[in-house]
């Protein structure tokens, strides 16, 4: 069942170095619009490194080098993009919920305000819309002035998702967004991710293979900096082509 969605990210012959250490080797991958792409693999295999290359978050780390090309809608993100513009189009949700130490409202309004939106009525609308889309509006609507750090971990993570949605990105990158959460909060976020798929392209790193199975359309298996296998999630889990993939998903590995 090959999807007809258009290609969002196209990664070709990509290498990644931290100083002398090569963390990714010759990665070739296509990420399609309105799909959920899961990245799996043992710890240290380069999932986060790969994910963070897609919005150039690795630029913040000294001495890193990217070779090959990554294009977003056909435009090279390392050559022909302003990094700020890129990050506005490609949002990110982190492993540990990281709301800013300010009110819920200010957290969500942060991005829109950066982009020059000042009018209270407009901001109010964006805040409500984003919180609704992140399935947390009902829980916080009476308490928007409350400090976001006073919320539970699961709520904080949904605030972070809402904060990302508020700048209306096209792609959302998520690095183990539920690993710090309990099972119920995890299910809520998973439902939410499924919901978001309609409007966004999502790339998610997960250590939890059931989770990858539950939510993703495609899955990429990484091992020691290499992309071992990339295919439809159902296929990868039921009928992997590579022996290493099979070892990993059947738990005979890492």
């Amino acid at each position: 069942m090959e999807t007809k969605n258009s290609v969002k990210f196209k990664i070709e012959n990509m290498d990644f170095h931290y100083g002398d250490f090569q963390a990714l080797k010759n990665i070739n991958l296509e990420i399609k619009e309105n799909e959920i792409t899961a990245l799996i693999g043992p710890s240290g295999c380069g999932k986060s490194t790969f994910l963070r290359s897609l919005n150039r978050m690795n630029d913040l780390i000294e001495n890193t080098k990217v070779d090959g090309s990554i294009t977003l809608d056909g435009v090279d993100i390392y050559k022909d993009y302003d990094v700020i513009d890129l990050r506005l189009r490609v949002g990110m949700v982190f492993q540990k919920p990281n709301p800013f130490p300010m009110s819920i409202y200010d957290n969500i309004a942060y991005g829109p305000r950066l982009n020059g939106i000042r009018k209270k009525s407009v901001l109010d609308k964006i805040v409500e819309k984003s919180l609704r889309a992140a399935a947390i509006w009902d829980e916080v609507k009476d308490d928007l002035k409350k400090n976001a750090l006073a919320l539970s971990g699961g709520q904080q993570q949904r605030i972070c998702i809402a904060r990302t949605l508020a700048v209306e990105p096209e792609v959302i990158l998520m690095d183990e967004p539920t690993s710090a959460l309990d099972p119920i909060a995890t299910l809520k976020i998973e439902d939410l991710i499924n919901e978001l798929k309609k409007d966004y392209t999502i790339v998610i790193v997960t250590h939890n293979m059931q989770q990858a199975g539950r939510i993703s359309d495609k899955t990429a298996f990484f091992l020691m900096g290499e992309l071992i296998e990339f295919s439809e999630t159902d296929k990868l889990f039921s009928n992997p082509e590579n022996k290493k993939t099979e070892d990993y998903i059947t738990g005979r590995f890492g």
């Binding site: 919005n55 978050m57 913040l60 000294e62 700020i84 513009d85 990050r87 506005l88 949002g91 990110m92 982190f94 540990k96 990281n98 709301p99 800013f100 130490p101 300010m102 942060y110 991005g111 950066l114 982009n115 750090l149 972070c160 904060r163 990302t164 700048v167």
Partner: protein, 300 residues
């Protein structure tokens, strides 16, 4: 096996001794503080018995007038506040900008070189700052402000500000660097520039540390003695003009401990009253700092 149990027993005996030892050491500093406050209060009480509050909070300070000396402390309070405010007007913006620069704009390697250099400012003896204010800054300022007195509060205020920059920078930088990396990445991930991240996210997140650094710097300015003794003069005239000389509380104490007031006279006891006032000022500052840190502290 045997050796291990022996060691454990020895360790546990030592363990019992340690709290007592620590208590003794801690008591020394606590007792010293109590002793200082006690002397201040006792000796100051002689003063307060004889001089009415209405006089203390008046503008007329003439402690050496042989007939009917007057002990209005407002000129001293004014001197101390003015020099401290000028110092903070210099130190707060410069110190904070340096902290933002060091914490967010400089590579770690560069930071390790620059921070100690800034902290060096704090190690210069205050007498050197005093001469710097009197012999260099005041003449320099006279070029723009012809009416500036040879002794004035503007110049020592500025120099004192320079002296306390490292307090602001060092503590603010610590507070800003302590903001977790994930918060910083969250801001960059939303398309913030470096400056936006620093000003809109890191600074608010570190605000308790930043304010605490300000309060500590103010305390330091209030207590500073040598610079103002040298460069701001000993005028006891009440004025609000920063180009004129003023005496600060600390400089007043210096003047009178160096021999002008005979022991047991009311002038002598006035030192303790001023000292007590100074103590109350800095105590308030410290309590304020504690309160602010508690109120704005963020747990991550």
């Amino acid at each position: 096996m045997e050796r291990i149990t022996k060691k454990v027993r020895l360790g546990s005996r030592l363990e019992k001794l340690v709290p007592g030892l620590l208590l003794a050491i801690a008591s020394i500093s606590i007792l010293t503080s109590i002793g200082i406050v006690f002397t201040l209060v006792v000796d100051a009480s002689h003063f307060f018995k004889e001089v009415p509050l209405s006089e203390i909070f008046s503008k007329e300070l003439a402690p050496l007038r042989s007939k009917d000396p007057s002990f209005g402390f407002l000129p001293l309070i004014m001197g101390t506040l003015t020099t401290s405010v000028i110092a903070m007007l210099v130190a707060a913006p410069i110190g904070l900008m340096a902290a933002m620069y060091l914490s967010e704009f400089v590579k770690p390697k560069m930071r390790r070189i620059l921070k100690p250099i800034i902290e060096l400012l704090a190690g210069i003896p205050t007498i050197v700052y005093g001469f710097f204010a009197y012999n260099f800054v005041t003449p320099l300022l006279m070029k723009w402000i012809p009416d500036l007195g040879a002794k004035n509060v503007l110049s020592p205020g500025i120099v004192m500000g320079i002296m306390i920059i490292p307090i602001v920078t060092s503590l603010s930088e610590d507070a800003m660097s302590a903001v977790p990396k994930v918060i910083r990445e969250g801001a960059y991930g939303l398309g913030s520039t470096r400056l936006e991240t620093t000003v809109k996210v890191i600074l608010p997140a570190a605000i308790s540390g930043v304010i605490a650094s300000f309060v500590l710097a103010i305390s330091r300015a209030i207590g500073e003695t040598m610079i103002v003794t040298i460069a701001s003069g000993s005028s006891k005239q009440f004025t609000t003009s920063i180009i004129e000389p003023m005496q600060t509380m600390t400089a007043y104490i210096v003047e009178f401990t160096s021999g002008d007031a005979g022991s047991g006279t009311i002038g002598y006891y006035s030192l303790y009253a001023v000292g007590l006032l100074l103590f109350v000022f800095t105590l308030c500052m410290n309590l304020l700092a504690k309160y602010i840190i508690k109120k704005y502290r963020r747990e991550y």
